[in-house]
Symmetry: C2
Subunit: 137 residues, 2 copies
DNA sequence: GTGTTTGCAAAGTGTTTGCAATTTA
DNA sequence: TAAATTGCAAACACTTTGCAAACAC
């Protein structure tokens, strides 16, 4: 966890989100944003951290992920009772590879899908999640 | 739980799904299909059963709901780490009332929404879930 | 210096397992 | 009667809490 210039990017990202760039946040944000193409679970990020020499307990990973989530840096998606954190909070549509339990965000442009159903009275959309669950042919 | 003619409907429904119409299944299926307009949680069905004089443990409710699910009678949907069972397995689209944690199925016709994204190779759609999350105005 | 964050053990929550007793066909 | 199902306590997996120590500003 000593890659100065990348760290600057990470620090800027944290500050922009209104979070103090503490050591843990820098380490985890760096791992998350520089190496994760797809959504991770807390457990997944934890073991990824271990493998990269970042010693941190699972509880701390949870706490840190939640702070990222509250700050709008990541987006939480719940599939089959598993909780994934997507590094792109603008994703609203996903491919879920059922056999591998892998969740990959896709943009609205990629699916050509616009969701705008008629709403119940007195309510507005908080968010719309589309999960396309895939299995092998 | 002694409404003979409705019970016949429930028994038929269970048989059609390939399940033995045992007492528990009849009781829970009857409660579920005759009184639930929206998706329930295991906990919700359990307390609904208690209130209706059906004494059954939560673990049994879980087991029974899973047997219904495996038989295609209900559909499981996961939101914010909560697990809901929708009595209409053909629903694929939902309104989720965030403040009340209430999940209501809507048909494709009601949203006018058809999902058909381009798929990764070697994969086919298992199912597509759309969850429109609502908050108060 | 002060308010924020960390760290992790322990507690909490929701779900599943195991298996003897019961029920169904 | 043989196979399926029940019932629920105990086990389990995942997540959150609590709070003293460390840190950022």
């Amino acid at each position: 966890m000593q890659i100065p210039e990348i760290d600057e990017v990470t620090i800027a990202r944290l500050r922009k989100a209104g979070l103090r760039p503490t050591r843990r946040r820098r380490e985890l944000a760096h791992l998350l944003f520089s190496s994760c193409k797809e959504a991770v679970t807390a457990e997944g990020l934890h073991s990824f951290a271990q493998r990269n020499g970042v010693k941190v307990s699972l509880a701390t990973v949870y706490g840190t992920l939640h702070s990222f989530c509250d700050a709008g840096m990541v987006r939480e998606v719940s599939i089959d009772s598993g909780r994934y954190f997507d590094i792109n909070p603008d994703n609203h549509q996903y491919f879920y590879f059922e056999d591998e339990r892998r969740l990959v965000g896709v943009t609205e442009a990629e699916t050509g899908l616009k969701v705008m159903p008629p709403l119940p009275e007195g309510r507005r959309i908080s968010r719309v999640d589309v999960v396309v669950r895939l299995r092998r042919d």
